[in-house]
């Protein structure tokens, strides 16, 4: 115990037992402060940029006209050029036309998949007869590697927009249908019985109890489907297209234009991230009741 200086007396009533021992908290019980969380979140990004810059610098020391790892400035310049200057041949601003075309395809493909997931997912999860008829079929179809259907689609539907949209739909719909059906099945049995005792018809159960509870799950399934959705979009555009983000990347690959490729990759990543956040925000604001428990990424 420390000595008491200047004649100060210990305060009356204060116990002088051993000080409470502070066990270090378990790691799972320690959360970073908000500022630290932001800092930690930024760290991998900064590390990547630094590593890239260093590698690019070293290569260009050897060979100033190196094309493999262009400097950040030249990537930025390429992006600026693509986003502002009109193409001499077509008169369009390349980046925006590519972005518009790609997002249209992605939106249509995923939109159709979403409609299938909603209708078939609820029907399979909710109506025993339809489940018996369709569940095994959907399970089998969802195992076909979608990219293997692409040649069939090109042959059957031609090289136009339809086959690209169909690839995105076929690639994402089966998994979404299955997860929707499972989500319907997972609604507690108690709720289904309860709603019948309140006098609901089958249609009313679907529209007032099942569908509203499926909406946040549908958005979650859509967020997951965005990943394969982008893959199928870029693949289809790379193989047969005259516009789009994937088309551009595979076009300039022939000229080793890494500055264009990298600025497109970064742009696609930003688009995908924004779409994901937008969907999360929609789910949180429109279906807040489903976000009250647990964290979500």
């Amino acid at each position: 115990m420390s000595t008491i200086e200047n004649g100060a007396k210990p305060v009356a009533g204060v116990e002088h037992g051993p000080p409470p021992r502070h066990h270090p908290l378990r790691l799972i019980n320690r959360a970073p402060s908000r500022r630290l969380a932001v800092f930690l979140g930024a760290l991998p990004f900064v590390a990547l940029v630094v590593a890239y810059t260093a590698a690019s610098h070293v290569r260009r020391l050897d060979n100033p006209s190196d094309r493999l790892l262009p400097s950040l400035e030249s990537i930025g310049a390429a992006f600026f050029r693509l986003a502002t200057e009109r193409d001499v041949r077509t008169g369009d601003i390349t980046l925006w036309v590519d972005t518009f075309d790609s997002l249209t395809r992605l939106g249509l493909g995923l939109g159709v998949a979403l409609a299938f997931a909603l209708v078939l997912g609820i029907a399979i999860g909710f109506l025993p007869h339809i489940r018996s008829a369709l569940a095994p079929f959907i399970a089998a179809v969802s195992l076909i590697p979608p990219i293997t259907i692409l040649p069939i689609l090109f042959i059957a539907l031609g090289l136009g927009e339809t086959s690209k949209i169909a690839l995105i739909t076929l690639g994402t719909a089966p998994v979404m249908i299955r997860s929707m059906a499972q989500a319907v099945i997972d609604i507690p049995r108690e709720q289904m019985v309860k709603v019948q005792t309140l006098g609901a018809s089958t249609w009313q159960i679907v529209t007032r109890v099942v569908l509203p509870q499926m909406m946040p799950k549908l958005i979650a399934a859509l967020r997951l489907a965005l990943v394969p959705g982008w893959i199928f979009l870029i693949s289809a555009e790379a193989i047969a297209s005259t516009s789009g983000l994937g088309y551009r990347i595979f076009l300039v690959r022939r000229y080793l234009a890494m500055d264009v490729i990298l600025s497109y990759v970064i742009w696609i990543t930003i688009l995908a991230y924004l779409l994901d956040r937008l969907l999360l925000w929609w789910s949180r604001s429109a279906f807040w009741w489903s976000h009250l428990e647990g964290d979500s990424l």
Binding site: Q196, R208, P212
Partner: protein
């Protein structure tokens, strides 16, 4: 006339008998509490009364007619959990059945009609103490509040029979006493027939006008699942008499030997 007649009811799951030879006749307005060992088939009995499942043998008559083959509004239910709708606010949970009745196609009120419907549940919300929480959704309510909502919701259809499966099992004793008051008050007002499963003998004696004990009477020592359970004791209670509730089921059975069982 009796409200509910159970005749020689039997239920088996995949050849394993759970209930057998259950006979029961319940007068309108009776408050039957059901006790029995875990797994003896109490919830199964409620599911049969609700038409959630069909009996393998025997029949159940409601007001002299066979039960409809699926759940209907004449029998309300409160489960231990998950009986309210998580996506609807407290008040919207309560107006749901009115919406079902009034709007076959959309199942929903809009605008002024919805405001009017929400206003009709004002006094009920006051009564169950949820007036201040009417805009919240179930995940924002405590367990007791959720069960009050579930009871109120089940009573919105004015069912002839109210079934409760361990409705207060997860609540602390103080809240439980409040819930008993609420339930008895609503029962007094609405005069419905009640079946309530509970593991709390004190609760069974406090609330019931009749205590039903489920147990097996036949035992095969080599095959414990050979026989199902039935109603072994059926004790009519005078609510005013203040019977001292026994502590355990065994004690209840021991003392009830003196009271003639009611077949």
């Amino acid at each position: 006339m009796s409200a509910l007649d159970v005749r020689n009811l039997g239920m088996a799951y995949g050849g394993t008998p759970i209930l057998e030879r259950v006979n029961l006749s319940v007068a309108p307005g009776d408050f039957c509490t059901i006790v029995g060992a875990s797994g003896c088939g109490k919830s199964t009995f409620l599911r049969l009364l609700l038409s959630q499942e069909r009996p393998t043998r025997g029949q159940i008559l409601l007001d002299g007619e066979n039960l409809p083959p699926e759940p209907t509004p004449d029998r309300g239910i409160v489960f231990q959990r998950y009986s309210v709708f998580p996506h609807l606010s407290v008040e919207d949970n309560l107006i749901l059945c009115a919406e079902f009745a009034a709007a076959p196609l959309t199942g929903r009120f809009f605008g002024a009609k919805r405001r009017a419907a929400r206003a009709t549940v004002d006094s009920l919300l006051e009564q169950i103490g949820l007036a201040h929480a009417r805009k919240r959704c179930p995940a924002q309510l405590s367990g007791g509040m959720q069960q009050r909502l579930a009871i109120a919701q089940a009573l919105m259809m004015k069912p002839k029979v109210l079934l409760l499966d361990e409705p207060f099992g997860a609540l602390d004793p103080g809240i439980r006493a409040d819930m008993h008051e609420l339930l008895l008050k609503l029962w007094d007002e609405m005069k419905m027939t009640v079946f309530m499963v509970t593991h709390d003998i004190g609760e069974a004696f406090k609330l019931g006008t009749r205590v039903l004990v489920f147990d097996k009477i036949r035992h095969d020592p080599h095959d414990p699942s050979a026989y199902g359970a039935t109603i072994t004791y059926d004790l009519p209670l005078e609510r005013k008499r203040h019977v001292q509730p026994p502590e355990t089921i065994n004690e209840l059975i021991a003392t009830s030997e003196e009271i003639p069982a009611h077949a």
